[in-house]
């Protein structure tokens, strides 16, 4: 039996008590689920309070993330974007977590957080621009508290801790959410971050997208712990495993973690059990290391289908609205990509700018030398 199956059989074996984090103490092997695969409510007692309006907004964001992601992958195939990490299948984790936060809260992402970027106000055009290979894709509108895309695994978790530390220092009520993968839990930085955050009660939500693979390496070989959530226990903080393809479960857990952190009670580790439906990046071939039956299994757990069925049952959604929303998302993606593609290549001065606040003689000389070469070349 895989660790995943074991957890599944033990799930909901024990009655819940008191608060969410007590009820889903990772050592009890339970996973928070509110919607089942058919969009039926199975965890009604944990249902978050959400207006119809917010539910619809959330679903539209998930849909936009999906459409924008599929477009990015097809643009990459046409050579108009460079290597990128698809987020197909992880929309409930991204949107369900980010949407619980306030404007003043902070987000510290890795590189696969399309839905969360969009929710937090990062323009889609900037995301496209980043994957078109420009640093300007990391420049967000004022007030958007999102750190730039972080490529080295898990190192960003410590920045989240630092921001959390500063929040406490200033007696603010803000919280920080940071995202990483199951693979990321193996790096030393993950452990150092959890430890520091717990010792100093930093208001940080550690959100693990357990999408089952770190490139080709399966979760079961990344860590032998039954869950990732249980790692929280060793550091002295609450941990919770949620169905990461269930928007409502992700929402509920993150909301609870945010109030925990905001109340000065320190960090929380959330493990969203999800699946990276596409390739690791556009240069990866997943058929080398996973079976198509597994992929089919997870297709049936698609977070969008589940949410859509739930909304339909509530009378909030139907075929026409779906079509309209898709068309709208497609138009937005097209428009934002067009904007990103307008961006011109950098000038010589630009590649030398921003190494330091003001330039240094070495850099000036190097820029001059490059310019003189280019002038010579033009004159040839």
């Amino acid at each position: 039996m895989t660790a995943e199956q074991k957890t599944a059989t033990r799930r909901s074996a024990k009655p819940s008590t008191g608060s969410l984090f007590e009820a889903f103490d990772p050592l009890r092997g339970r996973r928070l689920e509110i919607l089942d695969e058919n969009g039926k409510v199975v965890g009604g007692e944990w249902m978050p309070e959400l207006s119809d309006e917010k539910l619809l907004h959330a679903y539209k964001m998930m849909l936009l993330a999906r459409v924008a992601d599929l477009k990015a992958v097809s643009l990459q195939r046409q050579g108009r974007l460079y290597t990128l990490p698809p987020s197909l299948g992880q929309e409930a984790c991204a949107v369900g977590s980010a949407i619980t936060l306030e404007k003043e809260d902070w987000m510290v992402p890795a590189y696969r957080e399309l839905g969360a970027w969009l929710v937090r106000g990062v323009p889609l055009s900037r995301v496209y621009l980043y994957f078109a290979g420009s640093e300007y894709g990391n420049v967000y509108p004022p007030g958007v508290r999102v750190l730039p895309t972080s490529v080295p695994i898990s190192s960003q978790l410590l920045h989240a801790v630092g921001i959390g530390h500063a929040i406490n220092y200033r007696n603010r009520k803000e919280v920080v959410i940071t995202y990483f993968g199951d693979g990321g839990t193996s790096e030393g930085d993950f452990h150092e971050a959890l430890n520091w955050a717990a010792v100093f009660h930093c208001p940080v939500i550690f959100f693990c997208n357990n999408n089952q693979y770190a490139i080709s390496h399966p979760r079961a070989r990344q860590t032998i712990s039954e869950t990732i959530a249980q790692k929280a226990i060793a550091y002295g903080m609450p941990g919770i495993q949620v169905d990461g393809n269930d928007f409502l479960a992700v929402y509920r857990a993150t909301q609870e973690a945010a109030s925990h952190a905001r109340a000065g009670r320190g960090p929380v580790l959330i493990e969203g059990v999800t699946y990276r439906m596409g390739a690791h990046t556009t240069s990866d071939d997943p058929s080398k290391y996973r079976e198509s039956e597994e992929e089919e299994l997870w297709k049936a757990r698609d977070p969008l289908i589940r949410m859509r069925k739930y909304l339909e049952a509530k009378g909030l959604w139907d075929e026409t609205r779906e079509e309209d929303a898709k068309t709208e998302a497609q138009a937005k993606a097209d428009e934002d990509f067009a904007e990103a593609e307008k961006w011109k290549a950098n000038s010589v001065d630009e590649i030398f700018a921003h190494v330091f606040e003001s330039t240094v003689p070495e850099l000036e000389a190097q820029a001059e030398s490059l310019k003189s070469f280019r002038k010579w070349k033009e004159g040839r």
């Binding site: 193996s186 030393g188 190097q366």
Partner: protein
């Protein structure tokens, strides 16, 4: 003999050494089932089993740190780090332990470890995938640093590296992983570490380079030849220990020196080479030694890559100036 790319040559060296010595083991992220991000270990797990060739958890410090322990216990680990930029989490193990165990224990604990990783630009990659910090590694006492420029050299140098009792960082120029093909012998052969190679003889100027820059230089030399400039090209092959004698001998003959590398200029390999030539052949120089290097900026994302990294034309341009000076 078989025609091979540089990646295939790397795989061939690993394959032969795995077969040859049961103490050799190969591990890292995605090297087993996936065969490595550049496929340098493809098929080796199937052939030698998961005990000899395996995937590790995603943690570079543990990959290098565990290799240190394995070497102490008699194994010869050959580890892969996926990209140059991901060496940084392993830097502590590299500097604090790998490089100094032999010294620390007065020779009791040698470190037969090879750390392989891709190096340099040219594949339009994400951030941190284009770094080339070989000078940093060369600056760490106790590490040998090797960088091949051809499939033939890659195989022979890697076999030597695996057989070394000292830690070797084996930097693979990713831009030419698949760009060059060459006849490579099927069996084991060795190219000595610490020896440069004169690739082409010439009389007017000595050009020193290594890794992916060798091809760039070769193209530039063809153009310079039309202007009547005769270039002697030296492939360093090993960054540390640096083969000063071969360079100095050449400069004594040509009277001029230019060094080319794509990694940042300040405190780089070129600076070291020029310092040594000044120390040992100053009076033979007919003009000031020159260097063409990458800039002291962060390697830009792909949109600006072409601006940052120089083409053969730039080498030609600088060569002409070196010659005319």
């Amino acid at each position: 003999m078989a025609v091979m790319t540089l990646v295939q040559a790397v795989k061939s060296a690993l394959d032969l050494k795995l077969a040859d010595d049961e103490n050799v083991i190969v591990f890292g992220e995605d090297v087993g089932v996936g065969g490595g991000v550049f496929r340098a270990t493809e098929g080796l797990q199937k052939k030698y089993g998961a005990k000899r060739v395996f995937d590790t958890p995603l943690a570079e410090s543990s990959i290098v740190g565990a290799a240190v322990g394995m070497a102490i216990a008699g194994l010869r680990p050959v580890v892969e780090i996926q990209f140059d930029g991901f060496m940084h989490p392993a830097f502590n193990q590299l500097v604090s332990h790998l490089a100094r165990f032999r010294y620390r224990t007065r020779g009791e604990r040698p470190m037969p470890v090879v750390v392989r990783f891709p190096n340099g630009d040219g594949v339009r990659a994400l951030e941190l995938h284009s770094d080339s910090l070989e000078a940093v590694y060369g600056h760490v006492p106790g590490l040998k640093v090797v960088m091949p420029s051809t499939p033939y050299d890659a195989k022979g140098l890697l076999i030597s590296a695996i057989e070394e009792n000292d830690p070797v960082l084996f930097l693979e120029p990713k831009r030419i992983y698949r760009a060059v093909k060459q006849d490579v012998p099927d069996g084991l052969y060795r190219i000595p570490i610490g020896k440069a190679r004169v690739l082409q003889e010439g009389t007017n100027v000595t050009l020193v380079a290594y890794g992916a820059m060798i091809r760039v230089c070769q193209q530039a030399i063809l153009e310079a030849k039309k202007d009547g400039i005769s270039v002697e090209l030296i492939d360093l092959r090993t960054i540390y220990p640096l083969d000063t004698a071969t360079i100095v001998e050449s400069v004594k003959k040509t009277g001029r020196l230019m060094v080319v590398h794509e990694s940042p200029r300040s405190f780089g390999v070129a600076a070291e080479i020029i310092a040594r030539v000044n120390e040992q052949a100053f009076y033979y120089l007919e003009s000031p030694p020159r260097r063409l290097t990458g800039n002291d900026t962060i390697p830009p994302l792909p949109k600006s890559e072409d601006l940052y990294f120089f083409p053969p034309e730039r080498v030609y341009y600088e060569l002409k100036r070196a010659f005319e000076a």
